[in-house]
Symmetry: C3
Subunit: 206 residues, 3 copies
């Protein structure tokens, strides 16, 4: 059976994979080479968690002490280069990327809020750092690709879903729920809200 | 009566308000949604101080342990969204923003130099970190909004005013003046130089 | 005779000079003023090492405790402003900049890998942080100048040369070679590979 710590590690792995894909795809749209694709995938995958950890002095960084992640992403970037446009311009791959991205959004926001909360941040800052963990990898990815961050302009709800997921996670935790259960609740709320927002084209009213 | 520490806290509050406004206005020019406006206002307000603190290992970050600031800026972003273009495209509001921005410039540069100096930085690095505290919130704001930082191109003196203010503050401190008096002197010099530069269209000669 | 520590300091100085020049040139292309040129030269020169040190919690930062570097770059920025376009649009100056840039690339990647290795990072993370030290000053410089980082798009090998240099350095170190000898080997490999790549227009195959 998975322990809480193992579950959080698994959550981080899935999120890392999801966000790395988005980095590779954006890098290729900008006609970057293998090194560029690798760098942007690393930034997209580890950027949010790294910013969170720099802000709360939480060292060592996870990816610095777990170099197998960075090696795994090198494999991803190489594979995507070998497969080429057939891979990253493929409609089905892009649909899969949307699903993985939503999964990553839920996973990173709750895991990020959990790390901030355990580091002693109060409720609201933990909430903000949960959202930051989920969206700032993408923000850095877009800045490096010389775009205004999509998450700040996106029509359908995106950061708001991470916000709702972190909120449900932190409230569940305060209500005395087990961390793993609270995390699952947060992830499900994020995914559900994102799904509804995309399906019914729901936006922030202003 | 205000103690020095209370005064510095007040100085930080006024600066935070001033810079947050500039972030909301830039975000709205780029047609960002509420979340984007909030994120850019946070970056504009806390970015300079956060960069200073990351560079000198000065933890915990002020806004991380004072979550009421982040909540207050959420209120600002919400209010500006509700008021809409009538608010942030209004000429008088923009004039007020110019005044607040100049105030923030003076406040942040002296407070930033003070923090760096107290953390053990030497004269020149304290001076640079004072300027960085004052202008890097705006630099990050412009990078996120996909613009070349205005402060690097601005015709009228801007960073130079922060430089002069930090310089006056640090020299006053070394001359044995009280921290609060030195800070007031630095703020006044910043504001005065900025006012003169805008009024007489003074630029750096190269 | 130079001790290892003195040699590493000399290596850092030469690298700082090389990268600062690239920052001044980019800033002037964007018509920035003196302050902009100074800021971008600081970012180009110290950005890579600063990112490495923030990622591995390696404080105090070198340039924060050695303010003579920051003062020296102020002199550079002032001199380039006084000389004007005759200086930074000059073909020979640009050729010299290419040579210095390649030297900086080799120096920063091996020195960066060395710092990461001494801080306890494993082989692969030390390798990545060596490359990051060498190229992220340029990445930040390009982001601030609102460009997609050249290193991610550059036709001829660039980051790959830093990668090869760091690799040779770390392998030499593990093979028991003296740090200074290993560093020299890494720098030579970086320069040689870059020279061959530019001369024969070698690119990454994908």
């Amino acid at each position: 059976m998975l322990s809480i710590n193992n579950s959080i590690a698994l959550v981080e792995l899935l999120g890392v994979l999801a966000f790395a894909f988005t980095g590779i795809i954006e890098a290729r749209k900008k006609r970057m080479d293998l090194f560029g694709a690798y760098a942007v995938s690393m930034i997209a995958a580890f950027g949010g968690g790294t910013i969170r950890d720099l802000l709360i002095d939480n060292y060592p960084l996870y990816w610095v002490t777990h170099s197998n992640y960075a090696l795994m992403l090198l494999g991803f970037a190489l594979a995507s280069s070998l497969l080429g446009a057939a891979f990253y311009e493929n409609k089905q791959v892009n649909n899969a990327f949307e699903v993985l991205d939503t999964l990553g959004l839920g996973l990173f926001s709750t895991a990020g809020a959990s790390v901030a909360h355990q580091a002693g941040c109060d409720f609201y800052i933990s909430l903000l750092l949960g959202v930051a963990t989920a969206v700032f990898g993408g923000v850095l990815r877009d800045i490096v690709c010389n775009e205004i961050p999509k998450v700040f302009r996106r029509n359908e709800l995106y950061a708001t879903c991470a916000f709702a997921g972190s909120l449900v996670f932190l409230v569940s935790l305060q209500a005395g729920l087990n961390t793993l259960v609270a995390m699952l609740a947060g992830v499900l709320v994020t995914i559900l809200l994102r799904f509804i927002s995309v399906k019914y084209k729901i936006r922030l009213p202003f």
